[in-house]
């Protein structure tokens, strides 16, 4: 019987061609992934979350001081009224897109390789959206009346300005956050039930018992679960495109040279997926090593993610080139000046650094050896993460600091508080991620079972050893 098998999977060589190393069984999947959550707390994890909480405290401190003192503590002023706050907002919201793309679009496209990374990427999405969401609220300067942006019957006798992309942003991001959390939690239910059944600790049994919502694994449950996943995937699919399109419209609806470009929505969406996948790679590499998940997150996964990074990187590069083309083709003196200023102005270095990070570095991924090499993956992902921050810097500051009137030109330098808050958001992000790793299976166990089942079935068909129906009916239960 399959259940009785135990195999030491760690010794098996990963040839970079498979998304699930051979030798895995239903039992080994359940016990190795579920075991991470149920095993006693490791010292390393405690140290890691301790450091994260320290950074989180820095965030809380900087927000408290910001609310007490006002946005004057940031580096923003005329003419650069959108600074690090908006840059970091767009940067974080972009990071989240990989999770949604993996969980929604790749699910609908039936890409099997998404199975072992979707849960982790979705968690990343949720915490990245949390980090992103802080910024626009604080950017308003009066966060205590931020609810004014919501449409409710109020004493002002006014609705929010529905013609403004800034109002669309609120709907786009809150919808995105809600659907992402729902999708993630729905997927977790069967796994929570697994933990409930495996846990020996009474508190853990109660905790997972409550959050698994009475899951018994009946056919009816699975049917509804599958339907809900499909519906949520359908709901998330437009969100992959809509959220960052609307973020880009915050700029594109403005009339500043460098913002008022129709290519913005697709180019921003590609940039978001680009940044998101780089972050997934960056986080997955150490996690896979530390928690010995090499059998489930294989070299093939990184190879595929590197391909996505390369493809979206090319779209982004195309966007940079198009922007310069538009400036030349429009014949508009402000656009022409803007393009020149972007490349050779006081902030010209940021543009060239951006081209190096986002345009040149990902080209390494044309080579299969680079796509499968850990140092190369880390190098390119770090470059892309820096590059995507620079991209927003180039777009936001680059257009604002020198606009139509030379008399109103200025310069922008982020202040200490801008940086402290940015570093602090990493604290929030990693605190969330470490709690997630500790409390929930970071790989979707039930989906891994289904994947294993599918793989075995394929093998049977290929080898022709058994009658398909017979093997299907007898030896592989869908879940543990």
């Amino acid at each position: 019987m399959q259940y009785a098998q135990t195999t030491d999977t760690k010794a098996i060589h990963d040839d970079g061609e498979t998304i699930l190393l051979p030798g895995e069984t239903h039992t080994s999947i359940s016990s190795s992934i579920g075991g991470i959550v149920l095993s006693p707390t490791a010292v390393g994890w405690g140290v890691a979350i301790g450091i994260s909480v320290l950074f989180l405290l820095a965030l809380i401190y900087s927000i408290t001081y910001l609310i007490a003192a006002g946005v004057g503590i940031w580096g923003i002023n005329q003419p650069v009224g959108w600074g690090a706050d908006i840059i970091n907002f767009v940067w974080w919201i972009g990071i989240g897109h990989a999770g949604t793309l993996i969980s929604a679009i790749l699910l609908l496209l039936r890409q099997q390789w998404r199975t072992s990374i979707n849960r982790f990427a979705e968690a990343m999405t949720i915490f990245a959206v949390c980090c992103a969401g802080i910024y626009p609220v604080l950017h308003t300067g009066r966060p205590w009346v931020a609810y004014w942006i919501l449409p409710y019957p109020n004493t002002l006798g006014m609705w929010p300005q529905f013609q403004s992309p800034l109002a669309w942003d609120v709907f786009a991001i809150s919808t995105y956050a809600t659907v992402s959390v729902l999708f993630w939690l729905t997927g977790l239910i069967p796994d929570f039930a697994l933990l409930r059944d495996k846990a020996q600790n009474q508190i853990a049994r109660l905790f997972y018992g409550i959050i698994s919502l009475g899951w018994r694994g009946s056919a009816k449950h699975w049917h509804r679960y599958e339907l809900a996943s499909l519906l949520l995937a359908g709901l998330s699919t437009p969100l992959v495109v809509s959220v960052h399109s609307i973020v880009s419209l915050d700029f594109a609806a403005g009339i500043l040279p460098g913002w008022h470009v129709t290519v913005f929505p697709p180019y921003f969406v590609a940039g978001a997926v680009f940044a998101g996948f780089a972050m997934v790679v960056l986080l997955m590499l150490p996690i896979r090593k530390i928690y010995h998940l090499e059998a489930y997150i294989t070299v093939k996964h990184f190879d595929l993610m590197a391909k996505v990074i390369l493809a979206t990187g090319m779209i982004v590069l195309y966007g940079y080139i198009l922007e310069l083309f538009y400036a030349w083709y429009s014949g508009n003196i402000y656009e022409t000046f803007f393009a020149w200023n972007r490349m050779f102005g006081p902030y010209g270095w940021s543009f060239w650094a951006l081209i190096l990070c986002n345009g040149v570095a990902p080209q390494l991924f044309w080579s299969k050896r680079m796509r499968q090499s850990v140092p190369a993956l880390i190098f390119v992902s770090v470059m892309v993460s820096i590059g995507m921050w620079l991209e927003r810097f180039v777009i936001i500051v680059g257009s604002l600091y020198r606009d139509f009137l030379p008399s109103s030109w200025g310069y922008y330098t982020p202040s200490f508080w801008d940086w402290l808050m940015y570093i602090g958001t990493f604290g929030l992000f990693f605190t969330g991620m470490f709690l997630f790793i500790r409390l929930a299976p970071m790989i979707a166990v039930s989906e891994m079972h289904a994947l294993l089942h599918q793989k075995k079935e394929e093998e049977h068909i290929l080898s022709g050893e058994h009658d398909h129906a017979e093997s299907h009916g007898q030896s592989h239960p869908q879940t543990a």
Binding site: Y152, N154, T155, L156, G157, M158, R196, D197, Q200, R205, L206, G209, L213, G214
Partner: protein, 232 residues
């Protein structure tokens, strides 16, 4: 077996009911809390003290002076037709009469003290708009907005038993301002009725109002509801 046997069931069947009750309680609790919060924030009585008389240093009665003695509004609020502020009268204005009329009344002790010391009386503001609102009395009066449209029938507001005086009849919410800025024809009156605080709109107010809007040259609601009309 070394392993301790545990029942696969963590909860008893009753837990299902409890769960649904908890969900229901959460939804109901949140609705009630939100509803209460909403009610408290929009309620004119709680937030804007509508109908709550504000105590003043001098028990001045509009009822006595306006309805009884037939003083005209402009006698005290001299600049309301010309200035942004409907000024509160100086002590000198009170003393034009009260140097001869009841100068020793205890009700007037603060007025007399102010007159003697030269320190103005610190009246408590009843209709206090936020500083980011640039309200101008003169333009409203000139375009047919009577006193009572915002201040109510002030001629009937008395001061008895040391409580009372002027109170708000309108919440002064922005939505309330916009009500008129969006449809001034519902509120404007002829110039001769401006200071008549007992004025009631006629049955054909909308018809008359539209005519008056034309005569006064009141701008359209698109312009009147621009942010910069009130927030500069």
């Amino acid at each position: 077996m070394a392993q301790v046997y545990r029942s696969p069931q963590v909860f008893r069947p009753r837990a299902n009911t409890l769960f649904w009750l908890a969900v229901l309680g959460l939804i109901l609790g949140a609705s009630v809390a939100l509803g209460l919060l909403y009610y408290l924030t929009v309620s004119p009585t709680f937030v804007r003290l509508v109908g709550v008389p504000i105590e003043q240093p001098v028990p001045f009665s509009h009822q006595l002076h306006v309805s009884g003695l037939r003083l005209q509004c402009l006698y005290c609020h001299t600049n309301v037709t010309e200035s942004a502020y409907a000024n509160v009268p100086a002590t000198q204005t009170c003393m034009t009469c009260h140097s001869a009329v009841k100068p020793t009344s205890p009700n007037l002790s603060n007025v007399v003290a102010s007159w003697e010391s030269g320190t103005p009386i610190q009246w408590n503001k009843v209709h206090d708009l936020p500083d980011f609102v640039y309200f101008n009395h003169s333009i409203h009066v000139a375009k047919g907005v009577g006193c009572s449209t915002c201040h109510g029938n002030i001629a009937q507001m008395g001061y008895t038993n040391n409580v009372g005086g002027v109170y708000r009849v309108e919440p002064l919410y922005m939505g309330w301002c916009l009500g008129c800025h969006r449809a001034p024809e519902n509120y404007v009156r002829p110039q001769e009725e401006i200071f008549n605080t007992a004025w009631e709109p006629p049955a054909n107010q909308v018809e008359v109002g539209q005519q008056l809007v034309k005569e006064y040259g009141i701008r359209g609601s698109y312009e009147l509801t621009r942010c910069a009309i009130c927030h500069r």
